[in-house]
Symmetry: C2
Subunit: 384 residues, 2 copies
């Protein structure tokens, strides 16, 4: 048998590798707090669980969920998009549900023909699923360099017209994981104009958009009625629903939704109807993500103070629940990893997100207050 060479050769998914390291440390009797998963430890928005339980109460006969999601769920997405961004999206033709954005991101490339020389473009530092999807499916990938100089956003001016012609899919993730960089409205408008000019699709992964610490929400592609954009949203972060798997894809261009619906029909990733009931409850309220953000902001302030007191350079941190940082005395990601492990904290080395992450590390602070206090004590122990 000829196995997929990417699977045979590729390194282990970083989460699995770090979890193995954690297991090893625990076996040695060392207590280490894991801060590697963007998986909130604070409660799910309570009406979600209540709505799922209520939906199950009379769910005696189960039936296959629809590929595109129930109309009620898509209507809830439409209502939320209208309320939050003023976007007018028809629930039947411009919205489709997904099992959280992870699977939707992985499957997106199936929509395209990759034999014609076109490429999928992603930031050189990224949520690993874009590159894993490209690797497993053998899709030509181009990494757009991110660094402190370009504010961890792809430099659109550095790309030549010849290069733009090779772009088929452009992934933009704002607020960005792992760096927390935020693309401005002007940046997104410029990108969407380029998409129209060179006929490519902007895939806008906005799963952290509702957890922000400034006065205004980060810009969203839902505010710009482009025909060359597909927006990926997830309820995992905004409503602490990682364990439920619920999200949505939206586009002002119904053709993408029509093709996605056809592509996703045999995929078998319809979300159970009773979980969609939870999604409807989550989307009916815009206040709880603001409350969650306020709680994250308090933690962020404390942790950033501690890190800066130790001489760390912390980037951004105006949205999401990650800290992205470097330290002049700990020049490699491996140095950062080991120094934090010595202090009792497991963080993700920046290189897990791409080679351009060398010298950086990411810390997830989607933790309880109690754990946050432990992190503070550990940071005070940290030797630099």
């Amino acid at each position: 048998m000829d196995f997929n060479p990417y699977l045979v050769e590729s390194r282990t998914y970083f989460v699995s590798a770090l979890q193995a390291r954690l297991k090893e440390l625990n076996a040695q009797g060392k207590e280490v707090i894991s801060l590697i998963m963007g998986d909130p430890l604070e409660p799910t928005y309570p009406p979600v669980r209540e709505a799922v339980q209520a939906a199950l109460a009379d769910y005696t006969v189960s039936q296959y969920p629809k590929t595109e999601g129930s109309l009620a769920y898509r209507q809830a997405v439409s209502d939320w998009a209208k309320r939050y961004y003023g976007a007018e999206l028809d629930p039947e033709t411009q919205i489709i549900s997904c099992n959280g954005s992870k699977e939707a991101i992985f499957h997106l490339p199936l929509l395209f023909d990759w034999t014609t020389g076109k490429e999928m473009w992603i930031p050189s530092l990224s949520y690993p699923v874009y590159a894993e999807s490209a690797g497993i499916q053998h899709i030509p990938l181009r990494l757009l360099p991110l660094n402190a100089e370009n504010g961890f956003l792809p430099d659109l001016d550095a790309i030549t017209p010849e290069d733009w012609k090779r772009c088929q899919v452009f992934w933009i993730n704002s607020p960005h994981n792992p760096t927390t960089a935020i693309a401005s409205r002007e940046y997104l408008e410029r990108l969407l104009k380029l998409a129209e000019q060179y006929n490519f699709l902007v895939c806008s992964d906005e799963c952290y958009n509702e957890l922000y610490y400034g006065d205004e929400p980060p810009a969203s592609c839902l505010e710009i009625p482009s025909q060359h954009c597909l927006v990926f949203r997830s309820l995992s972060k905004r409503s602490h629903m990682t364990g439920y798997r619920m999200g949505a894809l939206m586009s002002f261009n119904p053709e993408y939704i029509r093709l996605l619906s056809k592509m996703r029909a045999p995929l078998g990733v319809g979300t159970p109807d009773f979980i969609q009931a939870g999604g409807i409850a989550a989307l009916a309220d815009d206040e709880h993500p603001r409350e969650y953000a306020e709680r994250y902001r308090v933690k962020r302030d404390k942790l950033v103070s501690e890190l800066e007191a130790k001489g760390f350079d912390v980037f951004g941190a105006q949205a999401g629940f990650y800290l992205w940082f470097s330290h002049p005395s700990l020049p490699t990601s491996s140095d950062l990893l080991e120094a934090f492990i010595d202090a009792g904290l497991l963080i993700t080395p920046g290189t897990a997100f791409g080679d351009d992450g060398e010298g950086y590390a990411r810390l997830c602070y989607c933790v309880t207050n109690e754990v946050c206090e432990k992190i503070i004590l550990a940071l005070r122990r940290l030797a630099v």
Copy 2:
């Protein structure tokens, strides 16, 4: 943009096409009972829902489900396989969970390199997901002819050694959808020997295996400890759990499970933990699938009598909940479809499963007693 040519050119998934036809008939005021979905209308095994509700009762903090499923779920699968088939499977290295078998079937080809000339082989009449997966992913596909003469099972003797060398994945589905054909233990043993000889993987889709009407369960690849086999099982049919999305992949060869685990990590198709609790409850009991089968048998007997009284030839029908039939006076699948619509029943034309289905049709009888009585009345009206 260059869209996936398969999506642009291919016909609509047959279920969608038939549902559109149904909508049209309803709009014309014609009452038609849909018998096209293998989606049981009898209740889910009640302890499933109770277990999901109990798991939700204290599920205040949600966390990402594991790719491979919880150890408790995999242990339940292992215990069931041991009890039911005498199979010894290590839950940690020989079992992985899936969101029902549909997604697992769609994704299976990602495990392999398809650029070396190897092919995926499927029966010429099949559950459409095998061919859709191959089409969307551009995988070389070979259809093995099924017909009444070979009992709707691929004729292993008709394949030359040169041909066997091109096989990478061989899908066998027994009891078979749509024809209900059952492969004997000898057939499966022969196939697994060929897999060893020519180094290919047998993917055994056994989702109807526990709904049988004879004295003995249909043979399963779980009874034959081959190193060249991956078994796909689903709780959708045996426990009426289609709406929950829960299944498992098993292999006596841990290497497939290791690679599947690596391949599936970025896929985002982990099943929510509270649904896995329902899966554990379903697998703890072997009696309810027998009770469900007995109820299906009663319906089958009534419907087969009616069909035979009208001159239909009904094939097999010793397992599952499909009837596969033809009629000398209705020579095409289209003739069958229209005659049934005239009588008030929507069935699936055999051609929906492949060109070799011409002249046949499939009727799903996973219905309530009340609907079964309506079908009987409709069949008596049917003009042939």
